[in-house]
């Protein structure tokens, strides 16, 4: 037996727009998801991630392709018979039912369990979400975070093979959200259910997932572990969407026989000899803000260390580090720098000239 729990094969879906046009929401998507995995579908709004989720849960029909769970096609199974449960973006708790009734809804319908088994399961999930004592509350008597946990409990009590989460944390405030991120991850580990988590928040995706699937325009832009996605983006879209990056495009050329130059729209600088192979090609550097450093932290005697003389436009102090928005000729750069003491911060006042460095061999470049 393979490890594949769900396989999505060549899935296509087209919508009609109100204007009479057509939108390809999913373009030939293929994807495998394993047991006990935390998968994140990440992408900007309208990239097709929610549509993909809905085709798995059965709320959207496919135009073509197949979805198999443990080798069995489910596309002809109505949504209420699929071994899949969803946590909805707005939670969709039943307003006329208590917390207990909401959570046991699936079990009550199923009728395969007797009352004491049902209670045992209910106690277990209630403990898992930490809402003991709230059994008889109505949904509108709960806070957003509590409602969200009830929605989660209501889904996992049915022990689905896959749990689908449609931007479930987007309505929570920042602190609550980061708590829920940890809890979700724990619950996924404890329950052993595969989670497919949809979000447009890249930080959320990076911190929680075993595997991230970056989607763009109805296609999969890249899939892989969070660190792969972050450090080895396969294309400009992924590089730009995941984390922050400074994209600098331009042409590599040789002026004299010795020196290789890079000429961008707004800047020109020299490159080390190793860039010989890119001669007369257009390339794009993608420099993460944290890949810049200032001279007094690292020495700059290697040929791979390049430096820019920049002018500070703005500084944003975050405590452990500082973000500098600066100008290199007409190119705006974002740098994230470590600061160790209060004195250093004065270097980054507005309009001050500053020398920043980066290791050109460690940054990602696209041809």
């Amino acid at each position: 037996m393979t490890d594949t729990l769900i396989s999505i094969e060549n899935v296509c879906k087209t919508y009609d727009t109100p204007e009479g046009g057509k939108v390809n929401a999913l373009k030939n998507i293929s994807l495998n998801i394993n047991y006990n995995e935390f998968i994140t579908l990440l992408g900007p709004s309208g990239c097709g991630k929610t549509t993909l989720l809905k085709t798995i849960s059965g709320f959207e029909e496919l135009d073509s392709g197949d979805i198999k769970i443990e080798g069995q096609s489910i596309i002809d199974t109505p949504s209420y018979k699929r071994p899949v449960n969803t946590v909805f973006q707005n939670y969709a708790l039943f307003p006329h039912m208590s917390v207990k009734k909401n959570i046991t809804y699936g079990l009550d319908i199923n009728k395969s369990l007797n009352e004491s088994e049902k209670n045992k399961k209910f106690k277990y999930v209630l403990n898992l979400i930490g809402l003991e004592g709230f059994e008889n509350r109505m949904p509108n008597q709960l806070s957003g975070g509590q409602q969200q946990r009830v929605a989660l409990a209501r889904a996992i009590i049915n022990e689905p093979k896959i749990l689908l989460l449609d931007e479930p944390l987007s309505a929570l405030d920042k602190k609550l959200r980061s708590n829920m991120q940890i809890e979700l991850k724990n619950i996924q580990n404890q329950s052993g259910i595969s989670f497919i988590f949809v979000t447009h928040d890249q930080e959320e995706a990076l911190s929680m997932s075993d595997k991230i699937i970056v989607m763009n325009n109805g296609t999969i832009s890249q899939e892989g572990k969070p660190e792969e996605i972050y450090y080895q983006p396969k294309n400009k879209f992924t590089a730009d969407f995941i984390g922050e990056t400074n994209m600098i495009s331009g042409l590599v050329y040789k002026e004299s026989s010795e020196i290789i130059h890079f000429k961008g729209k707004d800047i020109t600088f020299e490159l080390p000899n190793s860039f010989h192979k890119y001669q007369n090609k257009n390339i794009t550097f993608s420099i993460r803000p944290e890949q810049f450093f200032i001279s007094d932290i690292i020495r700059n005697d290697s040929p791979n260390i390049l430096s820019f003389e920049v002018e500070v436009i703005q500084k944003l102090f975050f405590g452990s580090n500082i973000k500098i928005i600066c100008k290199l000729e007409n190119q705006i750069l974002h740098c994230l720098l470590k600061v160790l003491d209060q004195e250093t911060i004065k270097m980054f006042d507005k309009d001050k000239k500053l020398k920043i460095f980066f290791d050109v061999t460690k940054i990602k470049l696209f041809e």
């Binding site: 949504s79 209420y80 449960n85 707005n90 969709a92 006329h96 699936g106 319908i109």
Partner: protein, 291 residues
Amino acid sequence: MNNKRKLLFLLSPFTLYISIFFLGPILILFVYSFLEPGLYGGVVWNFYHHNYGRILGWADGIIEEFNPVYFKIFLNSFRLALITVIISLIICYPTALWISRQKPKLKVFLLFLITLPFFSSLVVRLFAWMLLLKPSGLINQFLSYIGLINSPLQMLFTETAVLIGLVYILIPFMFLPLYASIEKIDNSLIHASNDLGGNKIVTFLKITLPLSFPGILGGSILVFIPSLGNFIVPDLLGGAKVMMIGNIIEQSFLTARNWPFGACLAIILMIVVVVLLSFYVKALSKYEKIY
């Protein structure tokens, strides 16, 4: 001007209107219901409790002559009003459910169609029904033309005709509150129920139906109360055969010129309605807490 005064000022036209033209007449009705009817109409200013006795079945306070004729009409009116509610609910619920799922543009158009009958006079519409239902009317002609009947059916001046009329004129009052509450149900709740294993029937019974309960309740009250006191429909479509409490009240005032007795019937009808409304408000406030 402080807020309280502002409020008082803004509410005074409504308050004045209601107290003069609504509470005033009710007070007069209440007083009249305890007065003796004059021989040639009007009232004699004596305290007189036999009006109420007569309705319960003891006319003029003679115990032996128990004849609950008015009580029976009361009960019959209740029965007809209840049947009207049930029929209009059965007709409206699926329609409201269907319309609530249509595209916004179509929805507006369909809602317009529902309210269309309000654009013409009630009496004209009821006369149209008389023309349809009478022995030489369109329905009978059609049925005999296709050979289903040999002699015309007696449809006019029957209880069925009254029910058809009541349902016909009151159906928008059932539809609109029902539609409003069904429309309000978040589609993601239906999806959630589906997702948790509920098929269409389970989802309807456990989610849609309970959540539309305020609409069912509101529509039922709005249909029940006007049909209970209605007199035009039984008058035109029921003839003298079907009597409802509204007809008795109308006759007491206009034909029999027994104002105290009419007032007494109206007061009792009103008390019944108020009691029903209080149940409604209580049930509704329970639901209001949920949303």
